[in-house]
Symmetry: C2
Subunit: 213 residues, 2 copies
């Protein structure tokens, strides 16, 4: 299909598609004349992913380019490519904005290490990007006077484990490895607001159960 | 204690404390002379909450003022006050920025209604703030070509239910009703990055289990 049809099918304006092409986020189409190129399904799929990263994940263009490079890197194992999203996506709390001092951060790092050991999680340590994000979040809680309870953290981690299993099942239902990797990145980002909204609804529900007359 | 000590204990600069006083977020201290006021533990606790809302929750000052008014409103039931955070906090996806059309939003609203009915959740409907946030997130997924699976959503909701129970247990461990309400608001905001980081770590772990040689 031509660029006008890509725009129509995806709902992305032509100017935005041209911007993504220029920035190297979207691969060029197959050139069929000096002024026209042909685009395929893979371009539509990639456009969905770019919008998930930039619009929903609010990711800077340079970071999106890095994530997409990992998605496309055939030399990585499928685990590494599927993990690219969880690994390379910017964490929910950028450590430099967290404001915690070195003592709180060091203490939080020890708590995160102990948690990972207790869970038997070995694939990503406390110094991986999501490990650092967790450390920053735990340090912020301590700094604001709400230190984390180790049992409570472990319980939340076990719940995350169960939903991760279901999410990987969902990913494996996508037709091929490239689509799985793209879906992994997109769903990591797109399900965050779903999960946070469900948590708030569950809070309201549980609070009603306990405190409503 | 005097304002200088409040600043020292909380780590909040005096200029910031004066800003919170001026904006009506922090109650005035008990005046003990024409130039000095006395502050207590309740001011320290309130400062922690204000920082959780504004610094971590990135909440506008006007919204923080509304949440704090609900926290302080003795005419509300404890359920309503504990629910104030989940209810009044700005959702993870502001609907007006979501970009979904009316058809996608209407379809998503039906899916959210069906989910709440299936779960037996009755305290907050699809038109409550967290219900609207969920609807917007589900509509975005559909718009970007990843429609939600009803069974998967229900599974995520059940996991949220279990962590909500544990979170309410944690809240009930706070000494009095005012402290519980403040902790409810603070923990709703402060645990979001914890839970999102745990989810990413769980993804990396589960992906390693399935795909690593």
């Amino acid at each position: 299909m031509r660029m006008a049809q890509v725009s129509e099918h995806s709902g992305v304006p032509i100017a935005t598609i041209k911007f993504y092409l220029r920035e190297g986020l979207l691969p060029r189409g197959r050139r069929i004349s000096t002024t026209q190129a042909e685009y395929g399904e893979e371009h539509l799929r990639r456009l969905r992913l770019i919008r998930a990263l930039i619009q929903v994940g609010r990711m800077p263009v340079a970071t999106a380019r890095e994530v997409l490079a990992a998605v496309d890197d055939e030399s990585l194992s499928q685990h590494q490519r599927l993990g690219a999203a969880a690994w390379a996506l910017p964490g929910p709390v950028p450590p430099e904005q967290d404001g915690s001092g070195p003592d709180e951060t060091e203490q939080a790092r020890r708590e995160v290490s102990a948690l990972l050991a207790r869970l038997g999680w070995q694939a990503a340590g406390p110094d991986s990007p999501p490990g650092q994000a967790l450390t920053a979040a735990v340090a912020t809680l301590a700094r604001l006077g709400y230190p984390c309870d180790a049992d409570h953290l472990a319980l939340c981690a076990r719940a995350a484990e169960r939903t991760a299993e279901a999410e990987l099942d969902l990913l494996e239902s996508f037709p091929d490895r490239a689509a799985q990797v793209e879906a992994s990145v997109a769903l990591t980002v797109l399900y965050e607001p779903v999960l946070l909204s469900l948590r708030r609804l569950a809070h309201v529900e549980e609070s009603a159960r306990r405190f409503e007359d």
